[in-house]
Subunit: 348 residues, 2 copies
Amino acid sequence: MHRGGSLHAAHLAYETWGNLNARADNALLILTGLSPSAHAASSPEDPSPGWWEAMIGPGKAIDSNRYFIICVNSLGSCKGSTGAASINPGTGKPYQLDYPELCLEDIAVSAHELVRHLGISRLRALVGPSMGGMSSLAFAVLYPGMAPNLVLISTAPHSLPFATAIRSLQRECIRRDPRWLDGRYAADAWPEQGFRLARKLGMVTYRSAHEWRGRFGRKRVSEPARGAFEREFEVEAYLDAHADRFVGSFDPNCYLYLSRAMDWFDLADHGGDVDNALGQMQVKRALVIGVPSDILFPIEQQREIAEGLRSAGAVVDFFALPSIQGHDSFLVDFERFAPPVADFLGCL
Amino acid sequence: MHRGGSLHAAHLAYETWGNLNARADNALLILTGLSPSAHAASSPEDPSPGWWEAMIGPGKAIDSNRYFIICVNSLGSCKGSTGAASINPGTGKPYQLDYPELCLEDIAVSAHELVRHLGISRLRALVGPSMGGMSSLAFAVLYPGMAPNLVLISTAPHSLPFATAIRSLQRECIRRDPRWLDGRYAADAWPEQGFRLARKLGMVTYRSAHEWRGRFGRKRVSEPARGAFEREFEVEAYLDAHADRFVGSFDPNCYLYLSRAMDWFDLADHGGDVDNALGQMQVKRALVIGVPSDILFPIEQQREIAEGLRSAGAVVDFFALPSIQGHDSFLVDFERFAPPVADFLGCL
């Protein structure tokens, strides 16, 4: 592991769409945000819709007729890859906080092992939204020339203090839950209240105030909660609904590990500063997209990446899309996101 | 009380600076944000610096040589005025959640009683920053003509869903603390961890990402906390320091009451819509100030107030100041805030 320690007999969950060609030169790797699984799109084996269903498939922006598409569940997550909730083969019990310190570099290194295991010596394209974009930057700087074409979406070379403050509070919400027990909670006694708070705080930063103003305004719920100071407004019910969906489907310790890895990551650690690191990647073409309504990964950070890659000699397309859904726009505003991705990948 | 119930033998804490003239027509009332006391500036009786020390005093922007300045601790607070932490004379114990439902209208009505008690039938000016601006709007609409000159700073006619979401999460942080006990905590066993989280989340929205980027960047603390997932970055230490100062000096139940009152308040309840309400106030002149870096009370809301008052026939000065400190700018960026306030109050 990047900061020391090791994992034995670790697993990586991944899914693929399309076919690897004979020269093994049409592979496209997707690294994900903090919470998604490898199930980015439906397939004959699993026909349920994936988290990027609108973007991936035959004839879609990420075209499985053209590319052999791989999506990997990040190392440290809990959707099939080995994370803090997995069984430690050394003890027969879940790792919990015995899991080694996790970095985005570890996610990149493990994804690279997967790619090599699939017989691919060079990716045609590497696609990373959000945390997946940070992991992609780690991949590109650790394996220069391995990913000559990058698609970086709503991401950053490192976290700025506003984002770190939000994530720190999310982690504290989990840690302060009396049921967290320094990570030693039982499978049937999760620190649910703290995790709900963490998820709700996340949602506040994933969307935008502008979107919510139009969507919720000052609307009240039809049946207010009965307890003192409990929910009355629709925006509160919306946050509750998101917490309902997330809690129970993601492990709180895994969340802590991945969240901290995002705050730790700094592309500048690989080469002294961000521009030097970008210059080492041997990137030929890049598509960098962001939205100005994103408060978690502000558009200036995508601009910084685009300009750094351009200075390093890459041909870079940069788009600041006017989506109003904030950081989550790439998960919902396909009308705006699909065309530039399709154009870029169609010309490689 | 505005929503029913009543308080008996309630107190209001207030401080004054300067002298009321013979015609009692030089009074200026300040209504405060959520947490400040009535001690807005030092005085012979209390020489400690007040929370708006740079703004109030002889020759300052709010000039005590010219005005008889009154600052009142909001009803429902815990700085001398009767709130949930006060003793209920009916039981001899703290009200806690037996305190009646509190609205900003109650803060306005009680402040009006104070003004009348001081022999003042009409204010020369009413000054309200943040929640105090919302309370001032309540005052102005409940007592038309009583406050012909308004100074409204970083405030709003009602909360938008982003601000409500943040406040809802702050309240939930307090409510979920196992020591909250439905408000029946003992004086020596406050729900401190939940209240710390609430305060930290507040600070994230009181300042701006831009300010923090320059101030903290990715700086680490010299001595990281030892526990797993605890603080490492300076921005985390900054939030801890703010929580240290606040917790122990403000009552969590009072915080809940005031926070909910802000979300409940809607100027549009007084006249059908915001513009009608603004039109009823009989305001002659107004100064409306905001900062574009404020994410809690966005500048559009101050613009809405300014335009509404202008449509109602008032002479309105509107300033969008380029302060980078977000909502809290009026508490720190006096170089920008003092001149327009001094100009406005100097000409009344």
